[in-house]
Protein backbone atom coordinates (compact mmCIF):
# COMPACT_ATOMS: atom_id res chain seq x y z
CA UNK A 1 0.00 0.00 0.00
CA UNK A 2 1.34 3.41 -0.94
CA UNK A 3 -0.27 6.79 -0.55
CA UNK A 4 -0.99 8.07 -4.05
CA UNK A 5 -0.80 11.78 -4.83
CA UNK A 6 -1.90 13.40 -8.08
CA UNK A 7 0.64 16.15 -8.71
CA UNK A 8 -0.63 18.71 -11.21
CA UNK A 9 1.49 20.48 -13.73
CA UNK A 10 0.93 23.27 -16.20
CA UNK A 11 2.80 23.12 -19.52
CA UNK A 12 4.98 20.37 -18.05
CA UNK A 13 5.97 22.33 -14.94
CA UNK A 14 4.69 21.36 -11.51
CA UNK A 15 2.35 23.80 -9.81
CA UNK A 16 3.22 24.93 -6.29
CA UNK A 17 0.28 22.94 -4.93
CA UNK A 18 1.90 19.77 -6.28
CA UNK A 19 4.69 20.21 -3.71
CA UNK A 20 2.22 21.10 -0.94
CA UNK A 21 0.31 17.93 -1.73
CA UNK A 22 3.44 15.79 -1.89
CA UNK A 23 4.39 17.11 1.57
CA UNK A 24 0.91 16.33 2.88
CA UNK A 25 1.03 12.82 1.42
CA UNK A 26 4.53 12.31 2.93
CA UNK A 27 3.17 13.17 6.39
CA UNK A 28 0.30 10.66 5.97
CA UNK A 29 2.75 8.02 4.77
CA UNK A 30 5.04 8.60 7.76
CA UNK A 31 2.15 8.13 10.15
CA UNK A 32 1.30 4.84 8.45
CA UNK A 33 4.82 3.60 7.85
CA UNK A 34 4.41 3.48 4.11
CA UNK A 35 5.59 5.20 0.94
CA UNK A 36 4.35 7.94 -1.39
CA UNK A 37 3.77 7.44 -5.09
CA UNK A 38 3.02 10.45 -7.27
CA UNK A 39 1.22 10.32 -10.59
CA UNK A 40 1.74 13.14 -13.09
CA UNK A 41 1.08 13.89 -16.76
CA UNK A 42 3.77 14.92 -19.25
CA UNK A 43 5.99 16.38 -16.52
CA UNK A 44 9.27 17.85 -17.78
CA UNK A 45 11.22 17.11 -14.60
CA UNK A 46 9.25 14.45 -12.74
CA UNK A 47 12.19 13.79 -10.41
CA UNK A 48 11.72 17.23 -8.81
CA UNK A 49 9.19 15.46 -6.63
CA UNK A 50 11.91 13.59 -4.78
CA UNK A 51 12.71 16.85 -3.00
CA UNK A 52 9.33 16.63 -1.29
CA UNK A 53 9.31 13.11 0.08
CA UNK A 54 7.96 11.19 -2.91
CA UNK A 55 9.37 7.63 -3.25
CA UNK A 56 8.10 6.74 -6.68
CA UNK A 57 6.93 8.81 -9.62
CA UNK A 58 4.58 7.48 -12.28
CA UNK A 59 4.90 9.87 -15.20
CA UNK A 60 2.36 9.46 -17.97
CA UNK A 61 3.81 10.74 -21.25
CA UNK A 62 0.98 10.93 -23.71
CA UNK A 63 0.47 13.70 -26.27
CA UNK A 64 -3.30 13.04 -26.27
CA UNK A 65 -3.34 14.10 -22.62
CA UNK A 66 -1.66 17.47 -23.11
CA UNK A 67 -4.79 19.29 -22.07
CA UNK A 68 -6.85 18.25 -19.09
CA UNK A 69 -9.74 15.86 -19.67
CA UNK A 70 -11.54 14.77 -16.51
CA UNK A 71 -12.74 11.43 -17.94
CA UNK A 72 -9.28 10.40 -19.21
CA UNK A 73 -7.34 11.79 -16.26
CA UNK A 74 -9.60 10.12 -13.70
CA UNK A 75 -9.09 6.80 -15.50
CA UNK A 76 -5.30 7.26 -15.38
CA UNK A 77 -5.19 8.21 -11.70
CA UNK A 78 -7.48 5.27 -10.94
CA UNK A 79 -5.19 2.85 -12.79
CA UNK A 80 -2.21 4.28 -10.93
CA UNK A 81 -4.04 3.65 -7.64
CA UNK A 82 -4.81 0.07 -8.68
CA UNK A 83 -1.20 -0.44 -9.72
CA UNK A 84 0.08 0.81 -6.37
CA UNK A 85 -2.76 -0.78 -4.36
CA UNK A 86 -3.31 2.66 -2.85
CA UNK A 87 -6.25 3.04 -0.55
CA UNK A 88 -5.64 6.72 0.10
CA UNK A 89 -5.47 9.12 -2.86
CA UNK A 90 -4.65 12.77 -2.26
CA UNK A 91 -5.53 15.53 -4.74
CA UNK A 92 -5.67 19.33 -4.70
CA UNK A 93 -8.68 21.66 -4.71
CA UNK A 94 -7.98 23.15 -8.13
CA UNK A 95 -10.85 23.39 -10.59
CA UNK A 96 -9.37 20.45 -12.53
CA UNK A 97 -8.87 18.22 -9.49
CA UNK A 98 -12.37 18.90 -8.22
CA UNK A 99 -13.66 18.03 -11.70
CA UNK A 100 -12.01 14.62 -11.79
CA UNK A 101 -12.53 13.79 -8.09
CA UNK A 102 -16.14 12.52 -8.17
CA UNK A 103 -15.41 10.40 -11.26
CA UNK A 104 -12.37 8.95 -9.54
CA UNK A 105 -14.29 8.30 -6.30
CA UNK A 106 -16.89 6.29 -8.23
CA UNK A 107 -14.23 4.19 -10.01
CA UNK A 108 -12.28 3.58 -6.79
CA UNK A 109 -15.42 3.20 -4.63
CA UNK A 110 -13.78 5.69 -2.30
CA UNK A 111 -15.26 7.84 0.42
CA UNK A 112 -14.54 11.34 -0.87
CA UNK A 113 -13.59 14.13 1.52
CA UNK A 114 -13.35 17.49 -0.21
CA UNK A 115 -11.89 20.68 1.31
CA UNK A 116 -9.78 18.82 3.87
CA UNK A 117 -7.93 21.39 5.95
CA UNK A 118 -5.65 19.27 8.17
CA UNK A 119 -3.90 15.94 8.34
CA UNK A 120 -6.22 13.08 9.31
CA UNK A 121 -6.75 12.88 13.08
CA UNK A 122 -7.23 9.09 12.99
CA UNK A 123 -6.66 6.25 10.52
CA UNK A 124 -9.07 3.68 11.95
CA UNK A 125 -11.49 4.82 10.80
CA UNK A 126 -9.91 7.51 8.63
CA UNK A 127 -11.11 10.81 10.10
CA UNK A 128 -10.48 14.19 8.53
CA UNK A 129 -11.47 17.77 9.33
CA UNK A 130 -12.88 19.72 6.40
CA UNK A 131 -14.48 23.10 5.87
CA UNK A 132 -18.24 23.24 5.34
CA UNK A 133 -21.02 25.84 5.16
CA UNK A 134 -18.65 27.95 3.03
CA UNK A 135 -16.12 28.32 5.83
CA UNK A 136 -18.74 29.19 8.41
CA UNK A 137 -17.95 25.84 10.11
CA UNK A 138 -15.74 22.77 10.11
CA UNK A 139 -17.01 19.24 9.76
CA UNK A 140 -15.19 16.23 11.18
CA UNK A 141 -15.84 13.39 8.75
CA UNK A 142 -15.09 9.70 8.98
CA UNK A 143 -14.68 7.41 6.01
CA UNK A 144 -16.58 4.10 6.11
CA UNK A 145 -15.06 2.55 3.01
CA UNK A 146 -11.70 0.86 2.57
CA UNK A 147 -10.63 3.45 -0.01
CA UNK A 148 -10.54 7.19 0.51
CA UNK A 149 -10.04 10.21 -1.70
CA UNK A 150 -8.95 13.41 0.03
CA UNK A 151 -8.95 16.79 -1.68
CA UNK A 152 -6.81 19.22 0.29
CA UNK A 153 -8.06 22.79 0.59
CA UNK A 154 -5.73 25.46 -0.72
CA UNK A 155 -3.17 26.95 1.65
CA UNK A 156 -3.83 24.30 4.32
CA UNK A 157 -0.48 22.57 4.40
CA UNK A 158 3.03 23.98 4.00
CA UNK A 159 5.66 22.66 1.66
CA UNK A 160 8.16 20.51 3.51
CA UNK A 161 11.42 19.66 1.76
CA UNK A 162 12.41 16.05 2.38
CA UNK A 163 15.00 14.46 0.08
CA UNK A 164 14.25 10.95 -1.06
CA UNK A 165 15.80 8.71 -3.64
CA UNK A 166 12.78 8.22 -5.85
CA UNK A 167 12.30 5.78 -8.68
CA UNK A 168 10.79 6.95 -11.96
CA UNK A 169 8.36 4.83 -13.95
CA UNK A 170 7.12 5.66 -17.41
CA UNK A 171 3.51 4.73 -16.76
CA UNK A 172 1.34 4.04 -19.77
CA UNK A 173 -2.42 3.82 -19.77
CA UNK A 174 -4.63 2.67 -22.60
CA UNK A 175 -7.00 5.61 -22.36
CA UNK A 176 -10.64 4.96 -23.31
CA UNK A 177 -12.17 7.29 -25.86
CA UNK A 178 -14.79 9.71 -24.61
CA UNK A 179 -17.11 12.19 -26.25
CA UNK A 180 -16.03 15.27 -24.33
CA UNK A 181 -13.34 17.31 -26.04
CA UNK A 182 -11.80 20.66 -25.25
CA UNK A 183 -11.98 22.87 -28.35
CA UNK A 184 -10.27 26.00 -27.09
CA UNK A 185 -8.84 27.50 -23.95
CA UNK A 186 -9.19 31.18 -23.20
CA UNK A 187 -6.86 32.08 -20.40
CA UNK A 188 -4.84 35.16 -19.58
CA UNK A 189 -1.33 33.81 -19.22
CA UNK A 190 0.19 37.06 -17.98
CA UNK A 191 -2.04 37.31 -14.92
CA UNK A 192 -1.86 35.40 -11.66
CA UNK A 193 -5.13 33.56 -10.97
CA UNK A 194 -7.23 33.84 -7.81
CA UNK A 195 -6.70 30.10 -7.28
CA UNK A 196 -2.92 30.33 -7.38
CA UNK A 197 -2.32 33.78 -5.91
CA UNK A 198 -0.62 34.36 -2.56
CA UNK A 199 -2.21 37.80 -2.44
CA UNK A 200 -5.62 38.89 -3.71
CA UNK A 201 -6.68 42.53 -4.10
CA UNK A 202 -10.45 42.82 -4.19
CA UNK A 203 -12.75 45.78 -4.64
CA UNK A 204 -16.45 46.50 -4.30
CA UNK A 205 -19.13 49.01 -5.08
CA UNK A 206 -17.22 51.65 -3.09
CA UNK A 207 -15.13 52.10 -6.25
CA UNK A 208 -18.18 53.77 -7.88
CA UNK A 209 -17.59 52.49 -11.40
CA UNK A 210 -15.57 50.14 -13.62
CA UNK A 211 -13.47 53.07 -14.90
CA UNK A 212 -11.85 53.30 -11.45
CA UNK A 213 -10.27 49.84 -11.47
CA UNK A 214 -6.96 51.12 -12.78
CA UNK A 215 -5.60 51.68 -9.29
CA UNK A 216 -6.81 48.25 -8.15
CA UNK A 217 -4.94 46.62 -11.01
CA UNK A 218 -1.88 48.70 -10.26
CA UNK A 219 -1.94 47.75 -6.57
CA UNK A 220 -2.29 44.09 -7.58
CA UNK A 221 0.64 44.42 -9.94
CA UNK A 222 2.89 45.93 -7.27
CA UNK A 223 2.00 43.05 -4.92
CA UNK A 224 2.09 40.31 -7.57
CA UNK A 225 -1.55 39.74 -6.67
CA UNK A 226 -4.69 38.55 -8.43
CA UNK A 227 -7.64 40.93 -8.72
CA UNK A 228 -11.10 40.00 -7.45
CA UNK A 229 -14.41 41.70 -6.77
CA UNK A 230 -17.61 41.52 -4.73
CA UNK A 231 -20.87 40.05 -5.99
CA UNK A 232 -22.67 43.36 -6.75
CA UNK A 233 -19.72 44.46 -8.88
CA UNK A 234 -19.88 41.34 -11.04
CA UNK A 235 -23.71 41.48 -11.17
CA UNK A 236 -23.46 45.07 -12.43
CA UNK A 237 -21.06 43.88 -15.13
CA UNK A 238 -18.23 46.15 -13.92
CA UNK A 239 -15.93 43.12 -13.69
CA UNK A 240 -16.04 39.60 -15.18
CA UNK A 241 -17.82 36.79 -13.26
CA UNK A 242 -14.54 34.95 -12.89
CA UNK A 243 -13.44 37.65 -10.44
CA UNK A 244 -16.47 37.35 -8.15
CA UNK A 245 -15.39 35.93 -4.79
CA UNK A 246 -17.78 34.89 -2.05
CA UNK A 247 -20.32 32.23 -1.27
CA UNK A 248 -21.70 31.86 -4.79
CA UNK A 249 -18.47 32.93 -6.46
CA UNK A 250 -14.92 31.70 -6.04
CA UNK A 251 -13.49 30.87 -2.66
CA UNK A 252 -10.28 32.67 -1.68
CA UNK A 253 -7.62 31.11 0.53
CA UNK A 254 -4.70 33.45 -0.01
CA UNK A 255 -2.05 34.55 2.48
CA UNK A 256 -3.15 38.16 2.15
CA UNK A 257 -6.58 39.46 1.13
CA UNK A 258 -7.06 43.20 0.69
CA UNK A 259 -10.68 44.38 0.48
CA UNK A 260 -11.27 47.87 -0.85
CA UNK A 261 -14.70 49.48 -0.72
CA UNK A 262 -16.36 46.18 0.23
CA UNK A 263 -18.71 46.43 3.21
CA UNK A 264 -18.41 42.74 4.13
CA UNK A 265 -21.77 41.01 3.67
CA UNK A 266 -21.91 37.61 5.38
CA UNK A 267 -21.83 35.82 1.98
CA UNK A 268 -18.67 37.67 0.98
CA UNK A 269 -16.93 37.04 4.29
CA UNK A 270 -17.75 33.32 4.10
CA UNK A 271 -16.03 33.06 0.74
CA UNK A 272 -12.80 34.76 1.79
CA UNK A 273 -12.61 33.52 5.36
CA UNK A 274 -9.87 30.98 4.66
CA UNK A 275 -7.43 33.74 3.79
CA UNK A 276 -4.77 34.08 6.45
CA UNK A 277 -4.47 37.87 6.78
CA UNK A 278 -7.27 40.25 5.85
CA UNK A 279 -6.92 43.98 5.32
CA UNK A 280 -9.90 46.26 4.83
CA UNK A 281 -9.95 49.79 3.42
CA UNK A 282 -13.34 51.47 3.77
CA UNK A 283 -14.78 54.93 4.41
CA UNK A 284 -17.40 53.55 6.79
CA UNK A 285 -15.93 52.59 10.19
CA UNK A 286 -19.16 50.65 10.88
CA UNK A 287 -18.69 48.36 7.83
CA UNK A 288 -19.04 44.73 9.00
CA UNK A 289 -15.73 43.89 7.32
CA UNK A 290 -13.83 45.61 10.14
CA UNK A 291 -15.03 42.85 12.49
CA UNK A 292 -13.61 40.16 10.22
CA UNK A 293 -10.33 41.86 9.30
CA UNK A 294 -6.89 41.76 10.88
CA UNK A 295 -5.89 45.25 9.79
CA UNK A 296 -8.10 48.14 8.80
CA UNK A 297 -7.81 51.62 7.38
CA UNK A 298 -10.80 53.96 7.66
CA UNK A 299 -10.46 56.25 4.70
CA UNK A 300 -11.38 57.08 1.14
CA UNK A 301 -10.10 54.45 -1.27
CA UNK A 302 -9.41 57.14 -3.88
CA UNK A 303 -6.88 58.70 -1.50
CA UNK A 304 -5.61 55.65 0.38
CA UNK A 305 -4.99 53.30 -2.55
CA UNK A 306 -2.78 55.62 -4.69
CA UNK A 307 -0.73 56.50 -1.62
CA UNK A 308 -0.43 52.84 -0.63
CA UNK A 309 0.78 52.04 -4.17
CA UNK A 310 3.51 54.70 -3.91
CA UNK A 311 4.62 53.54 -0.50
CA UNK A 312 4.63 49.90 -1.55
CA UNK A 313 6.75 50.73 -4.59
CA UNK A 314 9.30 52.41 -2.32
CA UNK A 315 9.15 49.44 0.07
CA UNK A 316 9.58 46.90 -2.74
CA UNK A 317 12.55 48.85 -4.10
CA UNK A 318 14.25 48.68 -0.70
CA UNK A 319 13.47 45.01 0.06
Amino acid sequence: MAILVYTESEQGKFKKIAFELASYARAIADENNTTVTAVCFNAESPMELQNYGVNKVLNISNQDLKSFNAMSYSQCVFEAAENEKSNIIVISSSADSKYLAPLLAVKHNAGYISNACELPTSYSPLTVKRTAFTNKAFEITKVNTENALISLAKNSYSINEVKTDASLVDFSVNVSQNDTKVKSIDKATDKVTIADADTVVSAGRGLKGPENWGMIEELAEVLGAATACSKPVSDLGWRPHGEHVGQTGKPVASNLYIAIGISGAIQHLAGINSSKVKVVINTDPEAPFFKAADYGVVGDAFEVVPELINKLKTFKAQN
Partner: protein, 248 residues
Protein backbone atom coordinates in the same frame (compact mmCIF):
# COMPACT_ATOMS: atom_id res chain seq x y z
CA UNK B 1 -35.30 16.62 -24.73
CA UNK B 2 -35.83 15.35 -21.20
CA UNK B 3 -34.11 17.44 -18.54
CA UNK B 4 -33.90 16.83 -14.81
CA UNK B 5 -32.59 19.37 -12.34
CA UNK B 6 -31.32 18.12 -8.98
CA UNK B 7 -32.39 20.50 -6.25
CA UNK B 8 -30.76 20.79 -2.87
CA UNK B 9 -32.66 22.37 0.02
CA UNK B 10 -30.13 24.58 1.80
CA UNK B 11 -29.96 27.36 4.39
CA UNK B 12 -30.30 30.83 2.93
CA UNK B 13 -26.91 32.50 2.32
CA UNK B 14 -27.50 34.98 5.16
CA UNK B 15 -28.09 32.20 7.73
CA UNK B 16 -26.11 32.00 10.90
CA UNK B 17 -24.84 28.45 11.27
CA UNK B 18 -25.34 26.66 14.61
CA UNK B 19 -25.18 23.07 15.78
CA UNK B 20 -27.08 21.03 18.36
CA UNK B 21 -26.85 17.63 20.09
CA UNK B 22 -23.30 18.19 21.25
CA UNK B 23 -22.29 19.80 17.92
CA UNK B 24 -23.25 16.68 15.96
CA UNK B 25 -26.29 18.09 14.15
CA UNK B 26 -26.97 21.19 12.09
CA UNK B 27 -29.56 23.29 13.91
CA UNK B 28 -32.44 23.80 11.50
CA UNK B 29 -34.63 25.81 13.84
CA UNK B 30 -35.01 29.42 12.79
CA UNK B 31 -33.22 28.83 9.50
CA UNK B 32 -34.78 29.91 6.22
CA UNK B 33 -34.28 27.28 3.50
CA UNK B 34 -33.93 28.03 -0.20
CA UNK B 35 -33.07 26.33 -3.49
CA UNK B 36 -29.30 25.90 -3.54
CA UNK B 37 -28.09 28.92 -5.59
CA UNK B 38 -25.98 26.78 -7.97
CA UNK B 39 -29.04 24.59 -8.64
CA UNK B 40 -31.16 27.68 -9.23
CA UNK B 41 -28.79 28.92 -11.95
CA UNK B 42 -29.19 25.47 -13.54
CA UNK B 43 -32.98 25.46 -13.18
CA UNK B 44 -33.16 28.88 -14.84
CA UNK B 45 -31.14 27.63 -17.81
CA UNK B 46 -33.43 24.56 -17.98
CA UNK B 47 -36.44 26.91 -18.27
CA UNK B 48 -34.78 28.44 -21.33
CA UNK B 49 -34.54 24.99 -22.95
CA UNK B 50 -38.20 24.38 -22.08
CA UNK B 51 -39.38 27.67 -23.59
CA UNK B 52 -37.11 27.80 -26.65
CA UNK B 53 -36.61 24.14 -27.49
CA UNK B 54 -39.68 22.44 -26.03
CA UNK B 55 -37.79 20.43 -23.42
CA UNK B 56 -39.55 18.89 -20.43
CA UNK B 57 -38.04 19.81 -17.08
CA UNK B 58 -38.42 17.70 -13.95
CA UNK B 59 -36.90 18.52 -10.58
CA UNK B 60 -35.69 15.99 -8.03
CA UNK B 61 -34.49 16.11 -4.46
CA UNK B 62 -33.27 13.59 -1.91
CA UNK B 63 -34.78 14.61 1.41
CA UNK B 64 -37.56 14.30 3.96
CA UNK B 65 -40.96 15.95 3.63
CA UNK B 66 -39.71 19.31 4.93
CA UNK B 67 -37.89 19.84 1.60
CA UNK B 68 -41.15 19.84 -0.37
CA UNK B 69 -41.53 23.62 0.00
CA UNK B 70 -38.33 24.00 -2.05
CA UNK B 71 -39.59 21.56 -4.71
CA UNK B 72 -42.89 23.48 -4.88
CA UNK B 73 -40.92 26.67 -5.47
CA UNK B 74 -39.12 24.99 -8.38
CA UNK B 75 -42.53 23.94 -9.78
CA UNK B 76 -43.76 27.52 -9.37
CA UNK B 77 -40.74 28.73 -11.35
CA UNK B 78 -41.92 26.45 -14.15
CA UNK B 79 -40.73 22.84 -13.73
CA UNK B 80 -43.23 20.26 -14.98
CA UNK B 81 -43.00 17.63 -12.28
CA UNK B 82 -41.18 17.06 -9.00
CA UNK B 83 -39.79 13.88 -7.49
CA UNK B 84 -38.69 13.48 -3.89
CA UNK B 85 -36.63 10.47 -2.90
CA UNK B 86 -37.64 9.89 0.68
CA UNK B 87 -34.41 9.76 2.66
CA UNK B 88 -32.45 11.96 5.01
CA UNK B 89 -29.32 12.81 3.01
CA UNK B 90 -26.16 12.18 5.00
CA UNK B 91 -23.50 11.58 2.38
CA UNK B 92 -23.07 12.93 -1.14
CA UNK B 93 -22.07 9.58 -2.63
CA UNK B 94 -25.25 7.97 -1.33
CA UNK B 95 -27.34 10.90 -2.62
CA UNK B 96 -25.66 10.54 -6.04
CA UNK B 97 -26.51 6.81 -6.11
CA UNK B 98 -30.16 7.56 -5.32
CA UNK B 99 -30.33 10.17 -8.06
CA UNK B 100 -28.35 8.15 -10.63
CA UNK B 101 -30.64 5.16 -10.16
CA UNK B 102 -33.79 7.19 -10.90
CA UNK B 103 -32.17 9.13 -13.75
CA UNK B 104 -31.00 5.95 -15.48
CA UNK B 105 -34.42 4.35 -15.21
CA UNK B 106 -36.17 7.40 -16.66
CA UNK B 107 -33.60 8.04 -19.42
CA UNK B 108 -32.97 11.76 -19.04
CA UNK B 109 -30.90 13.41 -21.77
CA UNK B 110 -29.57 16.23 -19.62
CA UNK B 111 -28.98 16.25 -15.86
CA UNK B 112 -28.31 19.59 -14.20
CA UNK B 113 -27.01 19.82 -10.64
CA UNK B 114 -25.24 22.69 -8.89
CA UNK B 115 -21.45 22.33 -8.83
CA UNK B 116 -21.77 22.20 -5.04
CA UNK B 117 -24.37 22.82 -2.37
CA UNK B 118 -23.69 25.86 -0.22
CA UNK B 119 -24.26 23.88 3.00
CA UNK B 120 -21.88 20.90 2.96
CA UNK B 121 -19.85 22.04 -0.09
CA UNK B 122 -19.17 18.43 -1.05
CA UNK B 123 -18.94 19.19 -4.77
CA UNK B 124 -19.48 15.57 -5.69
CA UNK B 125 -23.08 14.87 -6.67
CA UNK B 126 -23.06 15.90 -10.37
CA UNK B 127 -19.75 14.15 -11.14
CA UNK B 128 -20.77 11.01 -9.30
CA UNK B 129 -24.08 10.80 -11.19
CA UNK B 130 -22.07 11.01 -14.43
CA UNK B 131 -19.59 8.41 -13.20
CA UNK B 132 -22.29 6.00 -12.03
CA UNK B 133 -24.35 6.31 -15.23
CA UNK B 134 -21.44 6.57 -17.66
CA UNK B 135 -22.65 9.92 -18.95
CA UNK B 136 -20.56 12.84 -20.18
CA UNK B 137 -19.75 15.38 -17.53
CA UNK B 138 -18.93 19.09 -17.61
CA UNK B 139 -18.26 20.73 -14.27
CA UNK B 140 -18.28 24.48 -13.44
CA UNK B 141 -20.44 24.95 -16.51
CA UNK B 142 -20.91 28.62 -17.50
CA UNK B 143 -22.60 28.25 -20.87
CA UNK B 144 -24.57 25.46 -22.49
CA UNK B 145 -26.10 25.07 -25.95
CA UNK B 146 -27.67 21.86 -27.22
CA UNK B 147 -28.47 21.11 -30.85
CA UNK B 148 -29.95 17.64 -31.33
CA UNK B 149 -27.48 15.44 -29.51
CA UNK B 150 -24.55 17.85 -29.87
CA UNK B 151 -23.45 19.93 -26.94
CA UNK B 152 -21.32 23.08 -26.88
CA UNK B 153 -20.47 24.32 -23.42
CA UNK B 154 -17.89 26.30 -21.53
CA UNK B 155 -16.26 25.50 -18.26
CA UNK B 156 -14.74 28.00 -15.88
CA UNK B 157 -11.12 27.09 -15.21
CA UNK B 158 -8.61 28.76 -12.90
CA UNK B 159 -7.89 32.06 -14.65
CA UNK B 160 -10.17 31.70 -17.66
CA UNK B 161 -12.51 29.37 -19.46
CA UNK B 162 -12.45 26.54 -21.95
CA UNK B 163 -14.89 25.67 -24.69
CA UNK B 164 -15.97 22.05 -24.78
CA UNK B 165 -17.81 19.90 -27.28
CA UNK B 166 -19.68 16.88 -26.04
CA UNK B 167 -22.97 15.07 -26.53
CA UNK B 168 -25.96 13.82 -24.58
CA UNK B 169 -26.51 12.03 -22.24
CA UNK B 170 -24.79 14.75 -20.28
CA UNK B 171 -24.48 15.86 -16.66
CA UNK B 172 -23.42 19.41 -15.86
CA UNK B 173 -22.25 21.01 -12.63
CA UNK B 174 -24.04 24.37 -12.79
CA UNK B 175 -22.89 27.67 -11.37
CA UNK B 176 -23.25 31.41 -11.77
CA UNK B 177 -22.50 32.45 -15.34
CA UNK B 178 -24.71 29.74 -16.83
CA UNK B 179 -27.36 32.46 -16.50
CA UNK B 180 -27.04 35.96 -15.10
CA UNK B 181 -28.21 36.82 -11.61
CA UNK B 182 -30.82 39.09 -13.24
CA UNK B 183 -32.26 36.10 -15.18
CA UNK B 184 -33.31 34.34 -11.96
CA UNK B 185 -37.06 34.14 -11.60
CA UNK B 186 -39.24 34.95 -8.65
CA UNK B 187 -42.39 32.78 -8.79
CA UNK B 188 -45.51 34.81 -9.59
CA UNK B 189 -48.99 34.13 -8.22
CA UNK B 190 -50.05 32.19 -11.31
CA UNK B 191 -46.94 30.01 -11.05
CA UNK B 192 -47.59 29.35 -7.38
CA UNK B 193 -51.23 28.40 -8.06
CA UNK B 194 -50.23 26.09 -10.92
CA UNK B 195 -47.49 24.49 -8.81
CA UNK B 196 -50.12 23.26 -6.35
CA UNK B 197 -51.71 21.17 -9.10
CA UNK B 198 -48.48 19.73 -10.46
CA UNK B 199 -47.35 16.25 -9.57
CA UNK B 200 -44.95 15.79 -6.66
CA UNK B 201 -44.09 12.14 -6.59
CA UNK B 202 -42.53 10.60 -3.48
CA UNK B 203 -40.50 7.47 -4.06
CA UNK B 204 -38.65 5.24 -1.59
CA UNK B 205 -34.86 5.30 -1.37
CA UNK B 206 -32.83 2.39 -2.69
CA UNK B 207 -30.56 0.42 -0.43
CA UNK B 208 -27.14 2.10 -0.50
CA UNK B 209 -24.52 2.78 2.12
CA UNK B 210 -22.90 6.02 3.26
CA UNK B 211 -19.27 6.21 2.18
CA UNK B 212 -18.60 8.89 4.77
CA UNK B 213 -20.37 10.27 7.82
CA UNK B 214 -20.20 13.47 9.82
CA UNK B 215 -19.04 12.93 13.36
CA UNK B 216 -18.95 16.45 14.68
CA UNK B 217 -19.00 20.12 13.72
CA UNK B 218 -16.89 23.00 14.94
CA UNK B 219 -17.22 26.72 14.51
CA UNK B 220 -14.20 28.83 13.64
CA UNK B 221 -12.51 30.45 16.62
CA UNK B 222 -13.68 34.01 17.23
CA UNK B 223 -11.45 36.61 15.65
CA UNK B 224 -9.34 39.06 17.59
CA UNK B 225 -9.91 42.80 17.31
CA UNK B 226 -8.92 44.52 14.10
CA UNK B 227 -5.78 46.67 14.26
CA UNK B 228 -6.71 50.06 12.86
CA UNK B 229 -4.09 52.11 11.06
CA UNK B 230 -4.59 55.79 10.36
CA UNK B 231 -5.00 56.67 6.68
CA UNK B 232 -2.14 59.18 6.93
CA UNK B 233 0.23 56.58 8.36
CA UNK B 234 0.29 53.90 5.69
CA UNK B 235 3.97 53.19 6.37
CA UNK B 236 2.74 51.60 9.57
CA UNK B 237 0.39 49.31 7.59
CA UNK B 238 3.29 48.19 5.40
CA UNK B 239 5.43 47.69 8.50
CA UNK B 240 2.73 45.52 10.14
CA UNK B 241 2.17 43.44 7.01
CA UNK B 242 5.91 42.94 6.61
CA UNK B 243 7.13 42.43 10.17
CA UNK B 244 4.09 41.22 12.10
CA UNK B 245 1.91 39.35 9.60
CA UNK B 246 4.88 38.50 7.33
CA UNK B 247 2.76 38.48 4.17
CA UNK B 248 4.62 41.03 2.06
Amino acid sequence: MKIIVCISHVPDTTSKINFSDGDTKFERNGVQFVINPNDEFGLTRAMWFKEKQGATVDVINVGLSDTESTLRKALAIGADKAIRIDMSPENGFNVAKQLANYIKKENYDLVIAGRESIDYNGGMVPGMIAGLNNANFINNCISLEIDGTNVTASREIDGGKETIESCIPLVIGAQKGLVEESDLRIPNMRGIMMARKKQLEVIPAIDASNQTNSIEFEKPKPKGEVTLVSSDNLDELINLLHNEAKVI
